[in-house]
Each structure stands twice: as structure tokens, then as C-alpha cells.
């Protein structure tokens, strides 16, 4: 019996079903893009023209901070610790171990802090927004809201997006501080350095042009997490299965977009 080279359901490139599939997927992609554009337009229009749900915004700020702060603390310490332990041997080789606090601080402030915080929040907050709004869609709570003369975009989406835009930069600054503290712990495994001396060494080369672009970048990260999480949940299908799909898709899409936004932000910062 000859070895089977192709799976029975595999189709060749010139098969009409393959073309049909490509056509369907392209169509589905363009429909999704059109829906996303329409969604962004509605969010922006309603933010400008309709009343801002301030109470709901505060509630969401609390939710985001409360849900993520523990995870960000643990991750921040570990990132600072690992970065220091990994960077120490090559610096020792070049006799530049004194530069370790400054180097780690710059890596954390410029890149690791914002990106790690955003990725954690995409997993924690983005998925929770996707699942919550998705389950509200499935159980007709969004329809009930609409019938009660409340635009769901105004009550559910806008406060969540703006809470993410406000909270992600704050969480990023917190993660930076915790990460730098983790780095001090890392240095003290092998060396003996006081916290005061470590802080002085860490910030000797850090200026505002390291901090400001990172904070601005994390505003955009917040917008991506909020918009994607809410979009996926708000547009979830009708079955219970859709809730899981919405949550999963929110994390995957937001994470991918975060990396793309980071790439663009780095290019822009490089030009400045």
C-alpha cells in the first residue's frame, strides 16, 4: 500500500472549492473590517454627542485596576529579577557591572513595562470584556438595554474603553516601579547594594524622553485592549459557544495589535 501523501480532504490549488474558500474568507475579512469601521465610527460619534456614563467609567477603572494589580505585581518583580540575572554575566565580562541598574531601568521603562503590562491586561481585561459583553449579548441583556432606551455602546463600550485608556498607563508606571524593585532584588542575590544607591544608579541615565513616549504608547495600548475586547464581545454570536470565541478572539487580536502598535511607536520614537 503506497504511503498517502495528501489527506483525503485536502484540495489542490486549482480546485474550485479552494477558490470558493478563499473568496469566502476574503469576503468575511472585508465584512469584519466594515463592521469594525462602523463600530469605531459609532463609538467616536456617541462619545462626542451623547452623555458620558461617568459612574460606569469609575466602576470600570476600579475593575481594571483591581483585577490586574496582583498579576502585574508578580510579573513586574519577576521581569526585573530575570532581566538583571540574565544581563549580569556579559556585563561582568566587560567590567561594566556598575551599568546594570541603569540598563535594566531603561529596558523596563522603555519597553518591558509597557508591553508586559499591556499583554497581561489584554489577557486579563480584554478577555473579561469579551466574555462579559458576549454573555450579555447571548442572554439578550444588550437587547434589554436597547429597549430601555440606553444605547449599549454608550453604557457598555465607551466607559470600558476610556477606563482602559486611563488605567493601562497607570498600571504601566506601577509595573515599571515594581520591575525596578525586582531588579534591585536581583542585584542583591550576587552583590550587596543599598536601595538608595541602586535608585540613584538606575535613574542617572533615565530622562523624560524615556518615560513620556512609553506612557503615550500605553495610552494607545489601553485603547486597543478596550476597543478590541468590547468589539469582540459586542458582536458575539447568539450561542453560548460564542462567549468563549469572543473572549479568545479578544485576547489574540488585541495581543497581535499591541505588538504592531509597539512597532509603530518604536519607529516614531526613534525619529524624535
Amino acid at each position: 500500500m503506497p504511503k498517502q501523501l495528501h489527506k483525503p480532504d485536502e484540495v489542490s490549488l486549482d480546485s474550485p472549492s479552494f477558490l470558493t474558500r478563499i473568496q469566502e474568507q476574503s469576503l468575511s475579512f472585508f465584512i469584519d473590517m466594515a463592521n469594525a469601521t462602523q463600530y469605531l465610527k459609532t463609538v467616536f460619534k456617541n462619545f462626542v454627542t451623547k452623555k458620558f456614563e461617568f459612574q460606569e467609567f469609575l466602576k470600570q477603572c476600579y475593575q481594571i485596576g483591581n483585577k490586574s494589580v496582583g498579576l502585574i505585581s508578580i510579573t513586574g518583580v519577576i521581569i526585573g529579577l530575570v532581566l538583571t540575572i540574565q544581563s549580569r554575566p556579559p556585563l561582568v565580562q566587560f567590567g561594566a557591572v556598575a551599568m546594570l541598574p541603569g540598563m535594566v531601568a531603561i529596558s523596563i521603562i522603555r519597553e518591558m513595562g509597557p508591553v508586559i503590562t499591556a499583554l497581561i491586561c489584554a489577557g486579563k481585561i480584554g478577555s473579561s470584556m469579551g466574555a462579559e459583553l458576549g454573555s450579555m449579548r447571548v442572554s439578550e441583556q444588550i437587547d434589554a438595554m436597547e429597549v430601555s432606551n440606553t444605547h449599549p455602546i454608550n453604557f457598555l463600550v465607551i466607559p470600558r474603553v476610556f477606563a482602559a485608556i486611563v488605567m493601562i498607563p497607570l498600571l504601566t508606571l506601577y509595573a515599571d516601579a515594581i520591575g525596578i524593585l525586582g531588579s534591585w532584588l536581583g542585584i542583591n542575590i550576587k552583590d550587596d547594594m543599598s536601595l538608595r544607591y541602586f535608585i540613584t544608579q538606575a535613574f542617572v541615565n533615565v530622562d523624560f524622553m524615556d518615560i513620556i513616549p512609553a506612557v503615550i504608547k500605553s495610552f494607545f495600548f489601553g485603547a486597543v485592549i478596550g476597543l478590541v475586547g468590547c468589539y469582540k464581545g459586542y458582536n458575539a454570536g447568539r450561542g453560548t459557544e460564542s462567549v468563549g470565541i469572543a473572549a479568545n478572539s479578544a485576547v489574540v487580536t488585541a495581543s497581535l495589535l499591541l505588538i504592531i502598535v509597539d512597532l509603530i511607536a518604536v519607529q516614531i520614537t526613534d525619529l524624535l
Binding site: S135, S139, Q141, D143, V147, S148
Partner: protein, 256 residues
């Protein structure tokens, strides 16, 4: 004799039409769900809509509150025609209509009190905290659940959720209530209680209702008039008596 005269008088005196639907069509892709529905809901009337699953009953009432946009035809609620209705007029229409969803659709993250407060706070009439509290307690007493005021929806049974859903609908005193399968998934005793509640609500608030259901016991209890939908069209319209006496096998399959 007196009863006969009263019935004749009721037939002769035309009641005001609160919802008027003409030639309503709605499709999802190539699937025609509603194909030329004609329907009138009169003042203080309980109209039951019967039909098998997927026949478009829920789509019909979702079109009435503009949760779904119809493709063709017209829906008139009071003075407002819903095709190309402005946002302001849609708000006015929705203020007149209460909607009891199949799963009650209580907001999971809010307590019963907050669910009812949310509905009240959205009708753009300013109420003091005391007024809101009085209205909420009154609405909960109407459905027999005043003790559930501080419970979360997850702490309520299916029947209780339906009652609280009805209280949330009633708290804003709508002129029309749309019930989407109010007794589905409930035991016979709770189903009877919900059917009684629909009648009590009508007696107390004089509202008109469209009730979507498969539950024949509920139909027998609440229906003033029945319409049956089949293949997207009105299959039969009449009173409970006319339906039960009809020899049509499709109709009888519901009433046996």
C-alpha cells in the same frame, strides 16, 4: 342573555388600534422568516401569537421594538411608523413598550433593585430617591417578590427571574407589553402563576399585550385573540373557541 349582549357590544364597538402591522417582510439571507404579516393589536387586548419554533414569532416582536429592522411593509405604534423613524421618535415608541425577554435578560452585574432603578432612570423623567424606592417596591409587590430586592439575578430561580423581569417592565408603566415565551422552561405551577400575573397586569394597568408562546395552558388562560404563524404568513386568526373547534390538523396539533 346579558353576557351575550355585552359580547355583541364589544364586537360592534371598534377598539383603538395600538399596533398596526401591514405586509411585514423580514429575511435573513435567503431565508424568508416573515412574508407579508398583517396584524393589529387593539387597546386592552391580550393577543397570543402561536407558531412552531423558528416560525418568526420572536422576530416579529423584535421588529416591533426595532431591535431588528424589517425589510418591507410597515409597523405603526401609536402615531409613529417605524420605517426610517428618527432616534427621538424611537425613544418615544420604546417608552410605550415593555419587553419581557425569554430568559428575563436581567443584568447579571446588578442587584434586583439596581435592575429596576436602571429601567426607571432611563425614561428621562427625574425621580427623587424616595420616589424611585417606592416605585420599585410597588413593582416588586405587583409580582409578589418584595423580599428579593437586594438579591443578585444568580440567586433567583427561573420563575423568579421572569417575575423580576416583569417587574422591571412594569416599573415604567408601559402601554404595551411584549412577552417572549413567558412560560418556557418553567414547571406547570410556576407557568400558571406567570399566566395569572399576565392577566392581573392587564386588569390593573389596562395595557395591551402580545404574548408569544407554545404553552397551550397559557394560551387558554390569557388569550383574547390568537393568531397562528406558518411559513412566515398568518395561518389563522380568531378566538380561542374558533381555534379549538377548528378541524385543521396543523392547528389541532397545537391544541391536543
Amino acid at each position: 342573555m346579558e353576557k351575550q349582549a355585552k359580547k355583541e357590544k364589544e364586537v360592534k364597538e371598534p377598539k383603538n388600534v395600538v399596533i398596526d402591522i401591514k405586509n411585514l417582510k423580514k429575511s435573513f439571507g435567503s431565508l424568508k422568516v416573515l412574508d407579508g404579516i398583517e396584524l393589529q393589536l387593539h387597546e386592552k387586548e391580550n393577543l397570543v401569537v402561536l407558531g412552531k419554533s423558528g416560525s418568526g414569532k420572536s422576530v416579529l416582536i423584535k421588529c416591533i421594538v426595532s431591535l431588528l429592522k424589517h425589510d418591507k411593509g410597515s409597523i405603526t405604534v401609536g402615531k409613529h411608523e417605524l420605517t426610517d423613524i428618527s432616534d427621538e421618535d424611537l425613544i418615544k415608541v420604546r417608552k410605550k413598550i415593555g419587553f419581557l425577554f425569554q430568559g428575563a435578560a436581567l443584568y447579571d452585574s446588578m442587584t434586583v433593585r439596581e435592575n429596576l432603578t436602571f429601567a426607571l432612570s432611563r425614561i428621562k423623567e427625574k425621580f427623587s430617591k424616595e420616589e424611585i424606592n417606592t416605585k420599585i417596591i410597588e413593582a416588586l409587590e405587583n409580582v409578589g417578590l418584595p423580599d428579593s430586592i437586594d438579591k443578585m439575578p444568580s440567586e433567583l430561580s427561573g420563575g423568579m427571574k421572569k417575575r423580576i423581569g416583569l417587574a422591571r417592565t412594569l416599573v415604567v408603566h408601559p402601554e404595551i407589553i411584549l412577552y417572549d415565551e413567558p412560560t418556557t422552561g418553567l414547571d406547570p405551577i410556576t407557568s400558571n402563576e406567570i399566566s395569572d400575573l399576565i392577566n392581573e397586569t392587564k386588569a390593573k394597568f389596562n395595557n395591551s399585550s402580545i404574548i408569544i408562546t407554545h404553552d397551550i395552558n397559557c394560551v387558554k388562560k390569557v388569550a383574547d385573540r390568537i393568531i397562528m404563524i406558518k411559513d412566515g404568513k398568518i395561518y389563522k386568526e380568531g378566538t380561542l373557541e374558533e381555534f379549538t373547534n377548528d378541524d385543521d390538523t396543523y392547528i389541532q396539533s397545537f391544541f391536543k
